[in-house]
Amino acid sequence: MQINRTELLEAYRKMRTIRVFEERVHEEFATGQMPGFVHLYAGEEASAVGVCLNLSDDDKICSTHRGHGHCIAKGCDVPGMMLELYGRRDGLCGGKGGSMHIADLSKGMMGANAIVGGGPPLACGAALAAKTLGTGKVAVTFTGDGGSNQGTTFESMNFASVLKLPVVFVFENNGYAETTGSSWSVACGDIVNRAPAFAMPGVMVDGHDFFAVHEAASEAIARARAGEGPTLIEVKVDRYFGHHEGDSEKYRAPGEVAKLRAEKDCLKRFRKRVTEAGLLQAGELDAIDRDVGALIDRSVKAALAAPMPTAADLMTDVYISY
């Protein structure tokens, strides 16, 4: 699988944007001004970006409660996202959705989802639409290790396989569902071991390695586009923050995150690999870092200054007509 320069720059920009967005949200949340349940994606960037780089706006993704990374990877407007997290009127969802329901259908981002296991059936639907309309488009659903144990997820895999739907099941196994270890909650150990039960190919990839994710996704998506049905991809990743902001993280090993950040950071690995291979220059990446920093800064400032929705907004958007 060839990735050209433009794509590499784009990949880095998106991974970096996710990282800085999340680190900043972490800080902002701590100030007490950001409302709601917020689940950060930092550490898992290579998964969202490695997958979504293979998709166009007309391909669809379904995300989870931990959805910021998928949004950014799929091309959602970053200042709009920040406005949304702050519940502002001009947020991506008018302030009505918030972090757990952030979506942009025009970008093929069908929504974060606060119901674990909510996404897989919906992705089957997007895939069914693509198949029925013959568009050649695909759907990807991201699910956590915890969500892999939900009945809706299991039956979606059988359903997709039976109907040969162009859908890819990406399981982001970050080792935990809230406090619960995935090696315990997934009886068969690795989620990839479930693929044969659904008669679909299964691949396990190292989620710290953008290129590995990209390649696995690219193959699975090509299969889907070719009408060969679904694929299961298990991506081993790490989350750098708590389950949600405010989590005491006592269930983790001491020093666990520091070690992960030092040894397995997907951004550092990407930078090392592309600069060592001479694909991109360090200076180009530094420029992106600066850009991204400024973008996030601007986004937060704008969000803090932006107006809240008002009483007039409460009753709108329930129905198209009623």
Binding site: K60, C62, G91, L92, C93, G94, G95, K96, G97, H101, A103, D104, L105, S106, M110, G111, N113, A114, I115, G118, P120, P121, L122, A123, C124, G125, A126, L128, A129, A130, T132, L133, A139, G151, T152, E155, S156, N158, F159, A160, V162, L163, T316, D317, V318, Y319, I320, S321, Y322
Partner: protein, 338 residues
């Protein structure tokens, strides 16, 4: 041109005509054609009640899709497909099965538009069978439309006859919001005059089934015909009932009900659902709140009891509100003296 069609045929025709008109309409459900992966005939059933029979012949497997027994997956798929350019009509064989797929309906389909700030459109229809009287016992006989009516973002349709059924289902498919379409299983064989050409009946417009000046009876689905029967009996006793069929519980045409009660001063609501937090209470309470001054007698609610639906025919017949019980409530309302 109108012919007699059964409610069953009306559903079939509404689906067929709209599928002809709009290539984005697809059907999904268990055994809705039948015979998938089996050695015998395809289209072997047309759904467990034969409603969708023949459609696969005209529209093929691409648009009439049998599914495994995986309600979350296929109802969810219908919802997801609705946000992606199709107008799916999914069949939840019995509404009693909502318990294995409700999330996709009430947290997903119902809330997308609001959660996404008005940027989603989810034109999905979920057709489902409801109601007692079929000796189908506790897990295949419930009404449950009150549960769906409670949920903002859903529209709920409860047709009482073949004519309305065709027009309301056509409307449901064309509607851009998620619609739950409740088909009472005891109505399937009842025939009415139904025009051959397509037509729609708007949601939120009640049908005044019978005009009258003494007592307003509001009844839903199968209870409409029971209310008419009661009204005829009562007419002989000199009690002149108005019978109103709201046709949709969400939106609800409260205005027509209020206008009637302002005239009659008396309200009886007939609801086959269990009594707590149901449509009878919903309507009675809204009328009491908004037309209090017009009420000359307590609003009365005639409902099923607070029990699961019993299997035994002798009990099930007692379970379902009867024309007699409706008539009694009307007489009491009429006789009430402050």
């Amino acid at each position: 041109m109108a012919r007699k069609l059964t409610f069953r045929q009306a559903v079939n025709e509404a689906l067929r005509q709209e599928m002809r008109r709009d290539p984005t309409v697809i059907l999904l459900g268990e055994d809705i054609a039948g015979g998938k992966g089996s050695p015998g005939e395809q289209d072997a059933w047309g759904g467990d009640m034969g409603i969708t029979k023949g459609l696969i012949g005209e529209f093929g497997e691409r648009r009439v899709i049998d599914t495994p027994i995986s309600e979350s997956a296929f109802i969810g798929a219908a919802v997801g497909a609705a946000t992606s350019g199709l107008r799916p009509v999914a069949e939840l064989m019995f509404v009693d099965f909502m318990g294995v797929c409700f999330d996709q309906i009430f947290n997903q389909a119902a809330k997308f538009r609001y959660m996404f700030g008005g940027k989603a459109k989810t034109p999905v229809v979920i057709r489902t069978q409801m109601g007692a009287g079929y000796r189908a016992a506790a897990q295949h006989s419930q009404c449950l439309y009150p549960l769906f009516t409670h949920i903002p973002g859903l529209k709920c349709v409860v047709p009482s006859g073949a004519y309305d059924c065709k027009g309301l289902l056509t409307q449901a498919i064309r509607d851009d919001d998620p619609v739950i379409f409740f088909e009472h299983k005891l109505l399937y064989d009842v025939a009415e005059d139904v025009p051959e050409e397509q037509y729609t009946i708007p949601f939120g417009e009640a049908n005044v089934v019978r005009e009258g000046n003494d007592v307003t009876i509001v009844a839903l689905a199968r209870m409409v015909s029971f209310a008419k029967t009661a009204a005829e009996t009562l007419a002989k006793e000199g009690i002149d009932c108005e019978v109103i069929d709201p046709r949709t519980t969400s939106p609800l045409d409260l205005d027509t009900i209020l206008e009637s009660v302002r005239r009659t001063g008396r309200l009886v609501v007939v609801d086959e659902a269990h009594p707590r937090c149901n449509m009878a209470a919903d309507i009675a309470a809204q009328v009491a709140e908004q037309a209090f001054g017009a009420l000359r007698a307590p609003p009365r609610m005639v409902t099923a009891p607070h029990t699961p639906v019993p299997f035994s025919p002798s009990l099930e017949d007692l379970f379902v509100p009867s024309p007699e019980k409706i008539a009694t409530a009307v007489r009491e309302a009429r006789a009430y003296k402050a």
